[in-house]
Symmetry: C2
Amino acid sequence: MDPCNSALLTDLYQLTMLHAYRDQDMEETAVFEMFVRRLPAGRNFLVAAGLEQCLDYLENFHFTPEELDWLAGCGRFDRDFVDYLANLRFTGAVHALPEGTVFFANEPILRVTAPLPQAQFVESRLINLIHFQTLIASKAARCVLAAPAKILVDFGLRRAHGAEAGLLAARAAYLAGFTGTATVLAGARFGIPLFGTMAHSLIMAHEREEAAFEHFAHVQPDNVVLLIDTYDTEAAARKAVQIAPRLRERGITIKGVRLDSGDLAEHARQVRRILDEGGLKETIIFCSGDLDEHSTKELLAAGAPIDGFGIGTRLDISVDAPALDCVYKLQEYAGNPKRKRSEGKATWPGRKQIYRGALADGTLAGDCLGLEDHPHPGEVLLQPVMTGGRRLAPAESLAVLRERVNQQLAALPPELRTLTAAPPYAVEIAPELRELAAHLDQTNR
Amino acid sequence: MDPCNSALLTDLYQLTMLHAYRDQDMEETAVFEMFVRRLPAGRNFLVAAGLEQCLDYLENFHFTPEELDWLAGCGRFDRDFVDYLANLRFTGAVHALPEGTVFFANEPILRVTAPLPQAQFVESRLINLIHFQTLIASKAARCVLAAPAKILVDFGLRRAHGAEAGLLAARAAYLAGFTGTATVLAGARFGIPLFGTMAHSLIMAHEREEAAFEHFAHVQPDNVVLLIDTYDTEAAARKAVQIAPRLRERGITIKGVRLDSGDLAEHARQVRRILDEGGLKETIIFCSGDLDEHSTKELLAAGAPIDGFGIGTRLDISVDAPALDCVYKLQEYAGNPKRKRSEGKATWPGRKQIYRGALADGTLAGDCLGLEDHPHPGEVLLQPVMTGGRRLAPAESLAVLRERVNQQLAALPPELRTLTAAPPYAVEIAPELRELAAHLDQTNR
């Protein structure tokens, strides 16, 4: 039971509700929408990501014989219900923001239209997939804004929350504009460019640091980035200069050096000087070590001669905002709009659409959250992506998604492109949506 | 390539270093230790977890033909090296803290003793596994301390960072004393008790709230916990009272009600009164909604009549401290102790052991971090768990691990059992360890 592909990766209440719906033949069409109730403190926008994995999940959704056996034996469900589960597939429709689209609080990322049992059951995994990749793509976009034109590499696998998080963080970061990742499986699975060199242990396992450098260069001649902070950063930079001519004779170039500790700005300056004076002007300086968008921005603002950054823990966990208030709510059942009214958690009912305004130069100029069947001016953001349980088109390539993010970030109003909190982007609630909500408040119970 | 079981779930530098070690026949015995450099702010202890999954990984470690094909075609490695990878297995030894052991900064959680290439290569996934479960078990232990004798259920799957995080958070929380989880797969895979009832959408899909309650009760008669905050919490509690006699005639008891919004303490008091006056004195009140150890403690301190809590996002992501500074460092190679000296990241060299002191009543009284071959008084914490790549004993049951955590938490000095930061628990660095470090600083380079 691989957790990434198990239909049992869900909350128990999805099964008990399914049981209840099945019992009463409550199989009419339900509409659920996923959205983020509010942006994390200090964040000005989010970047939608994770749709592809959701569509995979929906297309392949089924219970395996092993899972059905467990369900039959767990004491909660009768045989008739387990037989029903054996045949359960997702046959509904999905509308979604294209991956890489910038969005804001209360705006639907995804809409599922399907018979109630199906639309309900998939909630847990759909949130699990969209929440995480959106979280990481949004964080990565901030890193990209903070260090434009620099090499940015995801280094976060080891501290990511488990295997799938490590893999999908690499995808989300690359989608949002990172140059690549250190996570090999992300290269194998998604074709993401891989980066990586050596750990301190390689240096330490050798008797002499320069021997470690030379040995590594001979084995990986196309990939020579030397880690130089194990003992004394500047001394190691001088060793790189010393071995460079011998390597050059064998056709090997020292592509870069990596700094991983201490005052990175100061070390980078010293190391740049040593490399330049030693004729290694083309050798880049790459930094890592507990970095995020703020520290990279500060390093660059201080004029540190750094060419690239490895960003790990703070990216793959989005440490400053490790969760989004992301929910999936029933908006319509059997043709009737629905509204949850729980205190502080009320939702906007009905099938909604985002209508996005723009200035003549393309800069975003405010969204309108309205009803799908009551059009407003502006670009219509939610697009049909699945019908009858099948994708409407093949997966978009990561190259396309990267270009979309690039364009979307460029179109953000300038104050939203900064790392500090700006006044919220305008998302108007359409009058007819307010009226529908008020009407439901008076009638529904 | 299931990410949870792929040998490619690693950092590129593990492969390039392996390549280098292979090239130079650097296959002597290496010793790596994993530890947390410092505790997160406000945390007084950590609870070791994730060892079982590490041992699974090490016992089953291999590259599949599909993975080897990808490696052969990726342009970085020669055929000879790929053939070497095809035969690579983990044949080393592991010492570890038994899962559920309380530990502190700089104390080894795990020690790997193996030929250098193997010991190095497994770093990324071992950290990925231990880091996450230790993070969650440590957070869950705080929740248990904050709400002793209450029902605590993991509700975090949907916001957990991916599939494996959702699954393993359930395990880590249960290990640390939670009553159970909503995550079905954790029941199927680990036998963890499952809890769950209904979502607001079930209520909303019915025309009338009381019809939803009765219908659900008929279908899941042994599992009747009604969600009562969809529209008006107290009104819904009165509906529960109204339907109770009809349900009782059919032998169905309303086990509980769930509150998920608003002022939980005030609603719980009102609802308790309504239930008691309506003869439902045995019906429990269960609360959820963005809870953590602080809010549960406050609710209980305010005398709110709450019997159980569903804790989700803030548990499964450990939102206040979503990462640990967890590392895996070379401590010895070919019989020589090793020490990384990078600024601010220096390590204690050699094969270490934790010697734990205790008072007569069992209360922990300070640890000594020393060398394995230089014993100190106290309990020896690191235990052999694997040799020659095979487990020394079958996996410990979760029941055993839960009892261990229970004992360990009870043995903490009282000031460490609070939710606020206490002065750090005493971990003495043994003199001979300091001497070894100083000696290496003078000689190694």
